[in-house]
């Protein structure tokens, strides 16, 4: 077990493994996202209140979920890097940031596009929207902080602190709709009792979420490979394998 873990943490092994894994994430992700798009747009029944505008749910909710999921992965990786001083974990955290930032942007943008016809406004400064915007700034701040150091080890440590402290924002985003009065609706799917949404409307949502999750797996594999190459530029294994 320890030997296996040790092997996994070694850059050349991880580099090769990620290269093998990526297509196993990528192709199913593409298939599921296409299926869910078609299902969500053409098959799922129209909402009795929102009409066809509710179809934005299938792109908005998965991207919002992924924006938070990616942040938690980033913070956990940064924490592992800090505690056990594993460089690969820091590299993984660094690879999460641009992916997470793009999901956060997407959640905000699709939310805004949905908000206009339903709420009559593109943006309000309510708790859910504001905390999600802070998440975007956390990602951007993390990336800016990293790029301000020349020494990768100092960049790792400083940015890890930001990532770990910033994780407090994730439960704030999730519970913001319960703690404060917001324009945003409360959770209708991730509830402990029965979800308050018709099952025919849920299938494409679950497929899309799974697709996004696999897409993240693909993207992180690719990003991490690039990051490993950058960090291991002078390593012997790299010279031998290129």
């Amino acid at each position: 077990m320890w030997l296996w873990l040790h092997k996994l943490g070694s850059p050349p092994h991880a580099y090769r493994l990620l290269g093998k894994m990526a297509p196993w994430f990528g192709w199913p992700a593409l298939a599921l996202i296409l299926l869910a798009t078609w299902w969500g747009l053409a098959w799922a029944p129209r909402d009795y209140q929102q009409g066809d505008a509710f179809r934005l749910l299938y792109v908005h909710a998965p991207s919002a979920w992924m924006s938070m999921f990616t942040y938690v992965v980033m913070a956990v990786a940064a924490g592992i890097g800090m505690i056990w001083r594993i460089k690969l974990a820091h590299a993984a955290a660094a690879s999460c940031a641009p992916i997470g930032a793009s999901f956060t942007f997407l959640a905000l943008a699709t939310g805004s596009i949905w908000g206009k016809p339903m709420w009559g406004t593109w943006w309000v400064w309510d708790a859910r929207l504001t905390s999600e915007l802070i998440l975007l700034f956390l990602y951007l701040g993390y990336m800016a902080l990293r790029s301000s150091f020349d020494d990768p080890q100092r960049a790792d440590r400083a940015s890890a602190v930001l990532a770990i402290v910033g994780v407090i924002n994730v439960p704030i985003i999730h519970y913001s709709v319960e703690w404060w009065t917001t324009l945003h609706q409360p959770a209708s799917v991730t509830k402990l009792d029965k979800p308050s949404i018709a099952i025919e409307m849920l299938y494409p949502l679950f497929i899309m979420m799974l697709g996004f999750q696999l897409y993240f797996g693909w993207a992180i594999s690719r990003r991490l490979r690039g990051e490993i190459l950058r960090r291991e530029r002078n390593a012997k294994w790299l010279k031998e394998s290129t």
């Binding site: 179809r55 908005h60 596009i113 690719r222 530029r233 010279k239």
Partner: protein, 53 residues
């Protein structure tokens, strides 16, 4: 289902299609950016090992 009707999205065409279009754009951007950064690093690693050889 009527295709025209499908495109109209019950009058919300502008919102629904721009939302889905933007999603496609961001997913494709991510794909492109990740591949590009990997390819760049690979190229510079190959150059370096060629220089030293």
């Amino acid at each position: 289902m009527d295709f025209q009707e499908f495109l109209r999205m019950g009058g919300y065409a502008g919102y629904v299609w721009s939302g889905y279009g933007l999603t496609a754009l961001v997913l494709v951007w991510n794909w492109w950016a990740a591949r590009r950064s990997e390819a760049e690093q690979l190229l510079s690693a190959q150059r370096r090992s060629a220089d030293q050889a």
